[in-house]
Amino acid sequence: MDWLEEELRRALARKEPEPGFTARVSARSRAGGRGALSRRWLATAASVLVLAGSGAGYRWYQGVRAKEQVMAAVRIAGGKLNQVQNRVLEVAK
């Protein structure tokens, strides 16, 4: 085992969660698994807005979704282009 592997073991050593973790899990299991706020609120909020006939609210939801798509697309395209750039630079060395 070389130095890097030893450092990786050290860096990735197990860590305890915040105190009270077991109590929080127990509480949720007794409550039937409910209790944590769903992080997927956006779709739910959108449904509510549409049903309530709130045009402006739904338009906001569309805008946020469109922004997420733009960021996803730029990440993918930019990531691939960056890989290409690095490979070209490596070959040129």
């Binding site: 697309a73 395209a77 282009l81 490979r87």
Partner: protein, 174 residues
């Protein structure tokens, strides 16, 4: 575990502008373990740009990048096994990139990880009007088409820095 992120908001137009490629890859979604599908025309991009935060450095860079762009289309599929996509799937895309205005500027074939990457640029009257990136691996297929004038350096730079956590430099000892 199958995850599908279908982000399509816009119906496909009956006739696509020349800079926009027809992907014909939707049949792969059913076989993919992970799909990203983005289709944003100029109107949607302008709309989305309003929601980009100018105070966030990444979003501000993206907002600037969007200034010359009138369409972004991405299809990216990951598969659990090899053989899910066929060479013909990519050939149909490449055939559209044989048009005179398109030029292939990058063609990288890595035998080590069996990845092929091709980048095409479309020009008209000495101005860039489109970009296409095709990346294929045994278990992944990604096709990107951007319509408009793309700042390639900015796009590549964004791709290299997205989400990379910054390491805090400790204060200098005096």
């Amino acid at each position: 575990m199958k995850t599908v992120v279908k982000l399509l908001l816009l119906a496909v137009a009956a006739q696509l502008p020349a800079q926009q490629i027809q992907f014909n890859l939707d049949h792969l979604a059913g076989k993919a373990s992970n799909t990203v599908d983005v289709s944003l025309n100029g109107t949607m991009l302008q709309f989305a740009a309003k929601f980009l935060d100018g105070k966030d450095s990444e979003e501000a860079q993206v907002k600037k990048l969007l200034e010359g762009i009138t369409g972004i289309y991405v299809k990216s599929y990951e598969f659990k096994t090899e053989g899910a996509w066929a060479p013909a799937d990519l050939d149909r895309v490449r055939d559209q990139l044989r048009a005179p205005q398109w030029a292939r500027i990058i063609d990288i074939n890595s035998t080590e990880d069996r990845q092929t990457t091709q980048v095409y640029v479309r020009s008209e009257n000495q101005k860039m009007t489109g970009l296409a990136i095709l990346v294929s691996e045994p278990k992944e297929l990604t096709v990107v088409n951007i319509v408009g004038n793309v700042d390639l350096n900015s796009l590549a730079e964004l791709g290299g820095h997205f989400g990379i956590p910054k390491v805090e430099t400790p204060p200098q000892k005096k």
